[in-house]
């Protein structure tokens, strides 16, 4: 924490001294990367894996600061108001940054307050059931749900979250009713599913990869089968056009000068296109991506439309 504090002090002095940042001499000082979640989460793992490459590429320290709170909203509200000089950037998750401004009170950021430099990875959301659950396949699961409407408990992290929306989407497409159980973190979902306290869960591929021997993974939300789970069919293969996933990467305030945006984009793209980086990410259940500013925003727009449609269909409103 001490080093991080000093970095901040240095950073503060820098931001006072430099009038207007330009790409020529960017970056001159350490880059403050705001992490919206606790250490050890998916955003953190990706950031930590990128850190050495980014520092080499940019030639300055890449300081990761944790600002967890309100499911990320605290950090993003701060980031939206931060100085747009390229020295203040942060991690994000989609759909979190789409859903929070719509459904959460007191959130002071909007989805289009930010420029996304790069989407670094995503984790498809898959469907898994507890080991001794009566259904063994996706079809059997749907039949079971139809025979026991509202009886099957299905855990996920948070309300108005990626997991919640994946559950809603599935319920709509399959015409079934599940009992959605809201947990506060992935590890709680994992414990509950492994311990048989919930029947099913729509959860991240990282968890599914880690625990695949202790649960039954029925389907996965990637467009093609995952290399980590080659025997698991996709929703698409099973006739369900749904691709639930959580995408993560780095973003900053939208008003950062264009040339500095480009410089940061390049740093991220150089990092994420490294084969050894990709291999590392794949091993633990991520799907690594190499996406620049334009591509990332195209993806974001698509997700915005998709989620607004779902919210409308289920008549979801701010609590």
């Amino acid at each position: 924490m001490k080093a991080g504090k000093w970095m901040l002090v240095v950073l503060a002095i820098f931001s006072l001294l430099s009038e207007e940042a330009s790409a020529q001499d960017f970056p001159k000082g350490p880059i403050n990367y705001m992490n919206p979640f606790n250490p050890g989460g998916e955003v953190d793992i990706a950031a930590r894996a990128m850190q050495p490459y980014l520092e080499k590429n940019l030639g300055v320290p890449f300081v990761i600061n944790y600002l967890p709170g309100a499911g990320g909203a605290l950090c993003w509200s701060k980031l939206a108001a931060a100085k747009a000089d390229g020295y203040n950037i942060g991690g994000f998750s989609i759909p979190h940054i789409i859903l929070q401004p719509i459904f959460m009170k007191d959130v002071t950021f909007k989805t289009d307050d930010f420029v996304i430099f790069s989407i670094v990875e995503y984790t498809p959301i898959g469907l898994a059931v507890k080991k001794d659950f009566k259904a063994n396949t996706f079809r059997e699961f749907i039949d079971y749900c139809k025979a026991n409407p509202g009886k099957v408990s299905c855990g996920g992290v948070g309300k108005f979250s990626g997991h919640h929306f994946a559950t809603l989407q599935f319920m709509k497409l399959a015409g079934v009713k599940l009992n959605y159980v809201t947990f506060t973190g992935t590890s709680q979902v994992q414990t509950a599913l492994l311990g048989g306290h919930i029947d099913a869960s729509f959860t991240n591929s990282t968890l599914l990869t880690t625990s695949k021997d202790q649960i039954k993974v029925l389907a996965i939300g990637s467009p093609k089968r995952m290399v980590q789970l080659p025997e698991i069919p996709t929703f698409e293969e099973l006739g369900y056009k749904m691709y639930p996933r959580i995408a993560r990467g780095a973003m900053g305030p939208k008003t950062i000068p264009k040339d500095i945006q480009k410089r940061l984009e390049k740093a991220f793209l150089d990092t994420t296109s490294k084969p050894e980086f990709k291999a590392k990410m794949e091993q633990v259940g991520f799907v690594p991506q190499v996406m620049g500013i334009e591509e990332s925003h195209k993806y974001l727009d698509m997700e915005v439309k998709e989620h607004l449609k779902l919210a409308q269909e289920f008549d979801l409103k701010k609590p």
Binding site: P39, I45, L194, G195, Q283
Partner: protein, 505 residues
Amino acid sequence: MDLLNHIALGAQILFTPINLFFCFIGVLMGTLVGVLPGLGPTAAIALLLPNTFHVSPVSAIIMLAGIYYGAMYGGSTTSILVNIPGEAASVITTLDGYQMALKGRAGPALGIAAFGSFIAGTISVIGLMLVAPPLAKFALAFGPPEYFSLMLMGIVVLIYLASGSILKALMMAVFGLLLGTIGMDAISGTQRLTFGLLELSDGVGLIPAIMGLFGVAEVIHNVEEAIRREVVTSKVKNLLPNLQDWRDSFWPIIRGSVLGFFIGILPGPAPVISAFSSYAIEKKLSKHPEKFGTGVIEGVAGPEAANNAATGGAFIPLFTLGIPSNSVIAILLGAFMIHGIQPGPMLISKHADLFWGTIMSMYLGNAMLLILNLPLIGLWVKVLKVPYPILFPLILLFCLVGVFSLNYSQVEVALMIGFGVFGYLARKFQFEMAPLVLALVIGPMMENNLRLSLIISQGSPWIFIEHPISATFIFISLALLISPWIPWIGRRRKKLQEKVEGEQI
């Protein structure tokens, strides 16, 4: 003989210069962050993580684990010396530890905390080694209903054993539960009592609360009676626990170790809860429960052993299931992933070197910590001789910096000061802090698990009775609540209470 082979393998991994070095750095860092209030192992591990990229995974995990259990050693130091818990897990140590320091027995208190931690650390490592896989299933058997009932029992036990007025303890516990409702509703996402402050949406921070209730309140309290105190601290004598201290502490340490280890396996803030439980149990079993809170060594030995043993237990779900039981373990899990190690049930067999190397390092690390901490006791005790006009501003400074460095949040600093004023007033009227802190820790978890249980059972409260483990806890809680009405137990409690109240006046 399999075990011996494994131990040999672990020793082989550990006794290389590089791994010994990382083990030492880990425990040293751990002691340091433990001593500094506010700075916790989570922050330290997160900060050091990038420095481990270039070393082998075994070295990295050895160091990071060292920070974790090292912090539990250091956490007791400030609790005992200046009544500020270095870690949340050391809150309960302030009750008797600080009283011992006031009586000039800071040395034995620090000494028994170090020895107790060492013994507990060793017991929990042996436990980890022998029974890790079957115990992992024990953790999985705990679902939402089991957690709710366990926490309900925790609160009932704490109130039942309160030293002063049971009514005041109940008031503090209820106030803690109320404070625990602040923040975003985990089930529906609604903001409750946050007054538009996003900083409050994850609830009242535990660290600002503890630093305020203990640190700031202590300073205000002492400013009032500084003159009287100065005389007390001048007679610091014998630094190590004597034979009588050992006789009093031996069983509390053993019980605390076993208890802490089992509670450690369960997800959640295990070191905190295990320390509270150990204190409660020692008080219950003691022949002189009325003396608890006045500086008895059992009140330091048991909880300090328990919080240390809990760190060993917390590794079990990590190594056997890949489940992080708290934030520190979550970072370690992240470290596994960064180093390309697949966590999960296959870890012990696939990465035997990592598992056994880490286990062996924990034996050695505990020994290192003891050697590191014992000579320091003399030094720490001298802290008490620092004149109050210098010590108090320093304590305040540490509290302010410590809380601000957590999340760079002014709101949390303001919260801490508010808690400080509240803590000072509460102390004046003889309210205990412990029920408030425990309620604040487990309140949100208790609420969350109650609601999760009811969602799973679709509204039927019988879920708490249908699950055998949960039913047992409920039964014990009920028995404790009813017992005051059973004549002979009630009489004993009343007698005890009168004795305590008599002493306070």
